[in-house]
Each structure stands twice: as C-alpha cells, then as structure tokens.
C-alpha cells in the first residue's frame, strides 16, 4: 500500500450524543507527517479517534482514513493503524515482549514475524533490556514506551497516540517526543498525536488540528499557523507629565496597520516583520514621550491561536 498524502479527511463530520454535539461539522484534512490533535478535555479528540478507528459511526458527514471508509472498512483500517491509549492500564503480569507480540498477532502478523517485531519495537523504544520484565514492574515512563511499541510493532501506516507523555517527567517527555519524531522521520509512519499540552505539540508536530467543544479552531501546517506574524511585547510606564502616552503609542502603531493587544501597561505588537515592528514601536514610544519598561520579542504560539479561535 502506498503512503497516502492525505491520511485522514473529513467533510461535515458531526457526532451527536443526545443534546450534546461532540463534533460539529468538522472539515479537516490531515496530511502525512506528525499531526497534533489538540484541545482541552471534552474538545472531541477522543471521539474523533474513535471514528477514525471505525469504532463509532458519525451522526452525519463523511470521513476517509488511509483512503478507506471506517464505517464499512473499519477492520481493514485497524489492521494498518496502531493505537496507544491514554489510560495507563495494561496487564501487569504479562511480559512486555509477550504483550507487544500478542497485539501484533491480533493485528494480523504471523507468529514468528510478530515475535521478531515485538523485540525490535521494544529495542527501538529503549526497552530492549527490559522486554522480558512483567509490565507491572515497569515505571510509568517505561509503560508509555510499551504502549508506543505495541502501536508500531505491526508496521502500521498510521499511529494514533493519545496523550503519550502523560505522567512522564521532563527528561522522559523529551525522549518520548524524540521517539515520536523518529518513527515518522525514519520509518515513514504517520502519527496523530492527541494532546492538551500545546508546547509539546509545537515541538514535534508538522501540522495541527485544534478543536474546542467539538468545533474546529484551526488546522493546517504548524508553521503557517503560528509563524505568519512576528511581534514584540512592550511594557510601558505611564508617567505623570505625559498622561495618555500609552494610548498615543497604541494609536500610532495601529495607524501603521500593526496588530495591537493591550493588557494595562503591557502591549503586544504583531506584524509581518519583527525588525519593522521593533522600529515602529521604538519610534512611537519616542514620539509619545512614554517610558519604556521592557521590550522583548514574542513568537506567536498555539496558545495565541486557541485564544483567537475560542
């Protein structure tokens, strides 16, 4: 099977649970690469993953996963999709290698192949030495790796990772994110990473789908979404003999077509070019006779995107 350029595509995808709308007319195209599925709890991330796996039919709309329809070809899709759940519940008395091997067999691999690939996957995630240990004796970080290993062991085209860094310390989190990047870069496995930690999504993902209460907040390549504008954050001090100087600065910058957000004496100025924004701000502050307390460059983040979209 060839790698699809579009991994998941939805059109008007809607899921209704009684009076509650879990997904609302979702039009999304998820390309190859690592895609972050972001949103707060209840945003609809898990519901979308259920539909992707063919475990739940949408109320209306359409969806294609790897070129197949999950409603009629769910079992075929699931043979080519690895899934690592959020919950840290795993069979504690099973050895890691047996657990990964068994799920590979269930996903369709012959027994010998499943055994070999279970070991290979556990080595890949850094559990080569621990693969014969019972899962119950592994640390939280190691269990997260076991979940990743079982998701990739059957050579999927796509893996869905639900909060894969949950419960990890910063070092373990960095290692997990590096692994996720590696399985896409080196092995060509597309990844959909569900997370509510925006910072880690920014670090590892090529594109994002941001949901809020079932609605699409934003989707597309990450660089297009957060790096389009550059800006600076300026803290001004309103001085007694220049009343209204901050208002003057804001008015001057607005007149130049820059995007201004004000929070008391702190203003955030965003424009297409960081140097031009800095020069304009400096000039406006000097003209108004305001006092500059602090000026720092500021990159647009996923959090800004969410704030704007919500």
């Amino acid at each position: 099977m060839m790698h699809a350029v579009t991994v998941i595509a939805t059109r008007g995808l809607t899921v209704q649970f009684g009076a509650e709308r879990a997904l609302d007319e979702l039009d999304v195209t998820i390309p190859s690469g690592v895609t972050g599925l972001v949103g707060a709890n209840g945003a609809g991330k898990t519901t979308l993953m259920s539909i992707v796996l063919g475990l739940r039919p949408p109320t209306s709309g359409s969806i294609e996963v790897l070129g197949m329809d999950p409603r009629s070809q769910g079992h075929l899709i699931r043979a080519f999709v690895g899934y690592a759940p959020e919950r840290n519940l795993l069979p504690g008395d099973m050895r890691a290698v047996d657990f990964v091997r068994h799920l590979s067999e269930v996903r369709g691999l012959p027994r010998d192949e499943a055994r070999n690939r279970a070991s290979d996957s556990l080595w890949l995630v850094g559990l080569g030495e621990e693969r014969f240990r019972a899962i119950g004796s592994l640390s939280t970080g190691q269990r997260q790796r076991v979940k990743l290993a079982q998701a990739i062991a059957a050579d999927p085209r796509l893996v869905l990772l639900d909060e894969p860094t949950d419960g990890l310390d910063p070092v373990q989190r960095d290692e997990m994110l590096a692994l996720i990047r590696q399985i896409n870069d080196e092995f060509g496995i597309d990844v959909v990473l569900s997370s509510h930690v925006l910072e880690e999504v920014e670090r590892v993902c090529d594109s994002i789908v941001a949901l809020d209460a079932g609605r699409l907040v934003a989707s597309g390549p990450l660089q297009d979404l957060i790096a389009g504008d550059e800006g600076i954050e300026v803290e001004l001090v309103d001085i007694a003999d220049r009343p209204g100087s901050i208002d003057q600065v804001v008015a001057a910058l607005s007149a130049r077509g820059l995007s201004i957000a004000r929070d008391g004496s702190v203003i955030t100025v965003v424009g297409p070019d960081a140097d031009a924004v800095a020069d304009a701000t400096r000039d406006a502050v000097a003209d108004a006779g305001a006092r500059l307390g602090r000026m720092s460059s500021r990159r647009r983040t996923l959090e800004d995107l969410f704030m704007e979209g919500s």
Binding site: Y83, P91, D93, V106, G108, N116
Partner: protein
Amino acid sequence: MSDEAMIVDRGYRTYDGPRSGVVGAVRSVAWHSMRSVLGIGRPARHKILPVMAVLIAYLPALVFVGIAVLLPVDLVGKGVIPSYADYTGFIGLVIVLFCGLVAPEVLVGDRRNGMFGLYLSTPLRRDTYLVAKILAVMATLMMVTLGPPLLLLIAYTFEGSGPGGVGNWLVLLVRIVASGVVISAVFAVVSLAAASLTDRRAFASVGVILVLLGSNVVMGALIVKAGVSSTLGVLDLLGMPFELVQRIYGQPGGFPKMSVLLVAGANAAWATLGGVVIWYRYRRLAINP
C-alpha cells in the same frame, strides 16, 4: 568465519507480507486467553488452580483405567466404573468449579486491565472479540469434558475392554467428541454470561458457580421434594447439559420423560439466552476510545 557469515542489522523494518485479518485475530485472542487462563507464560501462582482442576478431572479416569487393568472383569457400565455417558456427570462438580475459574479469568481481566479497549483498536469488533472468548472458554473446558472420556476410550481400547469392532469404536468416538463439544459450548456461554455481569473476578466466579449449582439444587428440590413436573428440569442449568450427554449416548438420563428434542431445545435456549446476555452487556460497555 565462513564466507556467507555476515552481521545483519535487523532493527525496525517494514512488513509487506500477508495479514491474517479477523479470523487470525479471533484465533490469536482465543489462543492467548487459553494460555492465560491455564497460567502459561504467567507467574507460578496462576498455574496452581487450573492444574489442580485438570488433575482432579483426570484422576478418576486414571483410577478407573487402573481398576480395569488390575481386575480381569468388564466393569465398565456395570455400576462399579462409570460409563462414558456418566463420566462427565461424575466429575460434574469439577466442571462447575472449572467454569467458575475459567470464564471470569477470560472475560473480566480484559475489562480491568485495558485489553478490551486495545483489542477493539485491532481488526476485532465487539462480536468477533466475544466469539474469540467463547471459543477460548469452550476449548479450555474441553480439557475436562472431552479429555478424560477420550483417555478412557484409548486406555480401555489398549487394555482390551474397549468397544468391539471398528464401527462401534468410531460411533463411541463420535459420541465422546459430540458430548464434549456440546457440554463445553453450553457451559461456556452460560458461565461467560454470568461472568459478564460484574467487573470483579471473585464475584464473577461465585456468580458462575451459584448460577449453575443454584439452579440444579432449586430444580432438584422442586421436582423431588415438592413433586412439581419434571419438565421444569429444563430450568436446571447444570442438569440439562449432562442430560444432553446422556441422550447423545442413547441413555434415558435423569429426566426420562423429556424428549430428546426438548432436552436439546433447552440447551440451545440456555446457550442463546447466555449469548444475548453477553451481547447486551458488551454492546453497552463503554470503551476508550
């Protein structure tokens, strides 16, 4: 080092070979469940109960074979040594206890340790998952319902007290296999239905045993002590499968007034009802995702 020798960097690699699909998934889950319930690949404490149950189920067969070897008289079916038809009833309590051990282990564990949700992210669906679990319990129960009578047949045959003639031998073999499969199927579905109603393994074990033994005791008391119609024996969840075994061997059994069709129908009805209970429970079971 030979010329052909080389160091291969296996690492993680792609797999383009065939995949076994839903049938392979069912087979794999059934096999894994069987291994798990017998304690294979698990710590020693998980092996104790299943090994004991299997040994107890086979012990009478071994004793009977020993008696048959030592006493030069045909004692089979003469009231001294149970007949093939009577053997499963003879070890009925062991079968009930085995059901109480196997069904909860096969079903409840997956709900508690997250495997159920993971299985549904594979080619399995809820229905095919349940088929795998029923097959697993059936196959495990056949170790005690089918294995000992087969052992008796083989041992008696070698000892010289087996059925006369190839035709009779084959007929007996078919009856033994049919009895083992049928009784395992009915007990598997009924005990899984009882086990599906709770997430606590101990409660499930007690529930399975209570359902099987309780219906037997209550129906027995009503029929024997209160004098109600023996047709009510169809409500005896333990007695009906054993009754069907008797009929497969052409014996009148404990409910001679019931027709073969009624006995078979009662077993089919209980199995169907059990299946409906399991499906109803699992159709509504929430999973993540």
